[in-house]
Subunit: 767 residues, 2 copies
Amino acid sequence: MKNYIIHDEWKIIEKGFHKEENRISESLLSIGNGRCGQRANFEEKYSGDSLRGSYLAGIYYPDKTRVGWWKNGYPEYFAKILNATNWIGIDVSADGEELDLNKAEIRSFYRDLDMKSGLLTRRFVAQMASGKQLEVHARRFLSIADQEIGAISYSVKALNFSGELSFLPHIDGLVVNEDSNYDENFWIGISQKIKGSTGHVCLETKKTAFQVCTGMDFKATINGELMTTVPLPVEKEKYVGAEVKIQVKPGDEVCIEKFAALISTLYHPKNKLQEVTEKTLKRASDKGFARLFSEQEKAWNKRWETSDIRIEGDVAAQQGIRFNIFQLNQTYLGDDERLNIGPKGFTGEKYGGVTYWDTEAYCLPFTLGTAPHMVSKNLLLYRYKHLQKAIENAEKLGFTDGAALYPMVTINGEECHNEWEITFEEIHRNGAIAFAIFNYISYTGDREYLAPYGFEVLLALSRFWSQRINWSEEKKKFVMLGVTGPNEYENNVNNNFHTSFMAVWTLKYTLEAIEYLKKEHPFLYGDLVKKLKLQELKETSRWMKIIKEMYFPYDFSRKIFLQQDGFLDKELIPANLLNPKDRPINQKWSWDRILRSPYIKQADTLQSIYWFEDEFDKKSIERHFDFYEPLTVHESSLSSCVHSILAATLGRREKAYEMYLRTARLDLDDYNNDTNDGLHITSMGGTWMAFVQGFGGMRVRNGLLHFNPFIPEGWNSYSFRINFRGAHLEFKMDKSNIRVINHSKVSLELVVKGNQYTLDAKKEFTL
Amino acid sequence: MKNYIIHDEWKIIEKGFHKEENRISESLLSIGNGRCGQRANFEEKYSGDSLRGSYLAGIYYPDKTRVGWWKNGYPEYFAKILNATNWIGIDVSADGEELDLNKAEIRSFYRDLDMKSGLLTRRFVAQMASGKQLEVHARRFLSIADQEIGAISYSVKALNFSGELSFLPHIDGLVVNEDSNYDENFWIGISQKIKGSTGHVCLETKKTAFQVCTGMDFKATINGELMTTVPLPVEKEKYVGAEVKIQVKPGDEVCIEKFAALISTLYHPKNKLQEVTEKTLKRASDKGFARLFSEQEKAWNKRWETSDIRIEGDVAAQQGIRFNIFQLNQTYLGDDERLNIGPKGFTGEKYGGVTYWDTEAYCLPFTLGTAPHMVSKNLLLYRYKHLQKAIENAEKLGFTDGAALYPMVTINGEECHNEWEITFEEIHRNGAIAFAIFNYISYTGDREYLAPYGFEVLLALSRFWSQRINWSEEKKKFVMLGVTGPNEYENNVNNNFHTSFMAVWTLKYTLEAIEYLKKEHPFLYGDLVKKLKLQELKETSRWMKIIKEMYFPYDFSRKIFLQQDGFLDKELIPANLLNPKDRPINQKWSWDRILRSPYIKQADTLQSIYWFEDEFDKKSIERHFDFYEPLTVHESSLSSCVHSILAATLGRREKAYEMYLRTARLDLDDYNNDTNDGLHITSMGGTWMAFVQGFGGMRVRNGLLHFNPFIPEGWNSYSFRINFRGAHLEFKMDKSNIRVINHSKVSLELVVKGNQYTLDAKKEFTL
């Protein structure tokens, strides 16, 4: 756990340079705009420890690792979003002496990321070995208003010397992934050019043949006056730069405004890349840093209008929740259904930037609540478009007749993870994908999603479950063998409650969908039956048998469902009795010991109880929570949120708040000692859930919005905003009142603390 | 399955060149002498498909594969025996035209491996593109009499031309493992030299720093007369050669006798390698091919005297059993306790040439029966010397107080396998290692092995089991969670019968050992208690509790022990009802499907029943066999032997013979379609077991040798030889008689078909 980030309502602030924590700061102060992301690396050279990282959504490489134990059905590759061309570089030197904060004496240092506008600012005074002092003021952002533009304003003031300042803005494509085997370079040079201040480097990814053209242009001013000297071109392998030299005297300030265009074949045809790059650079340069930034501020302002959460009386909590919302919004804007939300977003290499079930389970509620519904729909369409690949994936494993197993990890619909116990066995992801359809329709009311998209997916998932489940002669029940639940500290177990529960629920929901389509869209349904070769009677009658006869492991004395068969054979010692030196167990214990232990990484049985709390009475929820939570070590960033919400449901406010804190400031305080790798982006959706569903007690039941809120001790008030079926609500709570404001033109029924109210357009009420 | 090897009692014969099967022939005709092995690659250049392979026992490399899913306790490396310097090469050309059987027209071709003497012979007539015809007669062997010497006699006759024949005998160290990642070369050049006909290449392995000096010398004769021309030196990277050119006319025959010295730091100090190489070469060259070969014949003859098995009336079966015995003897001579028996011996790269539990379970009975007891003792000492590493391995996994977990795969005592489901979970290997001690003492009567060596290992193993087993409050029994049995088609199961059975047996046997030591060696025992910090009462009382209260999964209706918890939840469809196109399932099915299926790769529950048949009545063995065998797909080469023996025990002779055939000619007929990778050396021990314990019904009970033999249909007679406690017996059976001949000077009690007899020294009897 770290504690060097200054608490502030809107900014993430580092005061003084924390060299040892530089990778953490680089992660925390990452900027992004949904299309690309950039860690908070320095513009000028830095020879100290740093994880250089620029990432472009959707630009990946299928990396191979030839391993001896490849088995049938294993994926052929592990996809990774590639570390891409460095567009921020501006080398600085004074009379030939290079500015490098690893070598200079740092007289003062400050940087912050302003979450209101996505602006990264850095100020410092450095004294170089020669004694020359430079004062630097650097700002940059990735525009969310014009998503292919990055802008930098980099000012250097000569404090105590006269001499020559040199600036070398450049584009450097000679980058590797830190996690690449054998330092392999995944990029092939296509073209490069430098003329005057304008240049580009165009690269192609090996194997996947994406092309990315990264262009730059810049202007230099001295004491505010535009310089006209022609810069000196510098070219190296996959590198272009243009050097500007300027005579300065003490007090003179040189400012470089550098614009970058990040243009890829994801959005433009190959033969237009250079042209688009040039046009984009011209547009940026014409507008200049200030105007680009004012567009950026406006765009971010609009985002915050619908997604901000305010807390009075707790700056750390305020900073925490905004940081979560901000980073989620930086990662995914929802305007491109080919993209998704990687566990680390664009802030690091870990997890390869690819898609997990995190999206459906932890991020969808956030987009449903805060963004236009199209954004959530795009997350669903991502899976819909991958359906054929999911069917092929199931076929590889031996399933037939249109059964689909979605990959555990993917970037293009194909499985690209290589642990069998996850790849083949963590099939509960199929349940999460079905639940996301339900969740989306429940929240938005958009049942029209079913006929063209949703039903096809549900049917393929139900077909999978129907084949994956088998009849046990011994138990005279249907069983599901050899699965891994969300608790990855168990592998290859039989009858994991969560997986079986989600399977049965999917079958039920698909039956409902059939009933609905038959009634409301009989012709469309007829078409679907033909297209999907649905043998309704035969298929659904097996589903109904499974629904009726499914086996769930149950402890009759404790009256709880068991995580899996044999769970009670373990030594059930609560996690808080473990020696603190054994925690976290995933760092301190061998895998063997973890697997045999009762310890739970993240909500497993409790995950289905969270999703379907209305199917369990409060006493039952309590029994399950009291059995499982003490065995839970919360070593997944996705664990605390679900437990926080359940604790809130049970009225255990302290526990709810404790769990909430673990997720809200996970990265800011580096709880898990791994923020250096990048941020836990998907868990940030969980933080939002914990807030709105936990503290706010928000639920949707039968199309009606419910709130059952409380305010954590020590807070004066909080508020959050919600989009719901065309309405835009602001929900405020302080120690005495609940206030709901309808900012929209739509009237809405809602239930607060069990009582139903009508809230007319543009009205508010207070309880 | 292939069928091109000619049946012969003593030889493995290929008539005509089977180019497509060349890798298979290269495996089958491999030669070795316990220290090194050489696949049947050609001496002259060959541009067709071939797996070049020379291997040196104990010379390995710790290859790394950086994988994303490394977890605590995973091994740091995967050891592999390296493909080593090629010592056989003799390039041949006529008037500059290179001899290459991939390009020449092959007029005749024959090769055989004479198992009587370990001599590989090849004869062929090739017509080159120019029309020139060469007749070649090549012979080679690796001496088991002088284990650092390889010898080649390579004659070429010019059939139809006059011109210049050129020979380039060479040593080539520029070799890679075919399975190396990224074609990495694991050898560093140290020195090389060529002078006259004598040369060497000295290399060092990366990381492990073994040095290997490979030397050559040769003589050339024409029509039997020694040539005196000075050869031309040729040097390249890690390569030395010496070229001889000779004018020939039709009918002239040139013969190259090439001698190789294979000298490593395993047996000599680094600074003496070259000196030893030179001395060895001189010794070989002085003796010449003929004398070296007569020593070789003598040494092999001695081996065969104690290990031959004869079958009359079935040449294929005769060839099969001799091939198994021959290859085992080529692989391991038992004179160096640092060495062991890799699953592929020195015949290929697969499995890295390292040690598995195969040795204890399948090879030890062979060495016990056929070799001096010191050989078997050396196999045990191999593990004894690795005990400290096994304790460290257990510590890595969280065990304490001297508990040992032997590695599943090792070359130096450290675990070097990287599938957690095998590395951590296939802990039944600990049982096999304990059983080997029991088996050795039971066979040899050498209880004196316990005090200095055996007990220390047994105690560490018992300490492991004691910690690995836990109390289940639910079952009110001790359980063993998260293991993988010998049936690797299941992973991470609870309460695998075989593992639990072996654990309990180990505890019992260790208690017996304590009783024995206390009684017979009280002082030594006292020393051991101190040295091993044995808290006798505390430790043994827990063992006794476990012995009493261990849980074994049991089916009360079928009256059988279950392979593991939940086994009956599977769909128990017999393997013979599977669609033949689905076999072998390990090639046709996904890992997911295999894991959920009931199919068994090799004996699991039946393995303990085989080892402890006297603890089960015949009806019970029958019930278990009839339940498990039909579910067994025998996709491990180690499966058939155990089933063959059990079938024999149950009097099911046809089944016993069917299972025997699968193991006996596994490689010769390429049953599993993988002989191209190398031979299944350890399963050859199983073949021997199936013969002697199955057909011969040989057992040792309370120090007494038992036979309960039968003769398979279609055989006229068979015989095998056995060492037992100083006696040397020949056991013969034909359709009417059983004859036992005592070739030794020791009198022996033995039991045949239930009746006890005394067989005096140098006597025989017939029943």
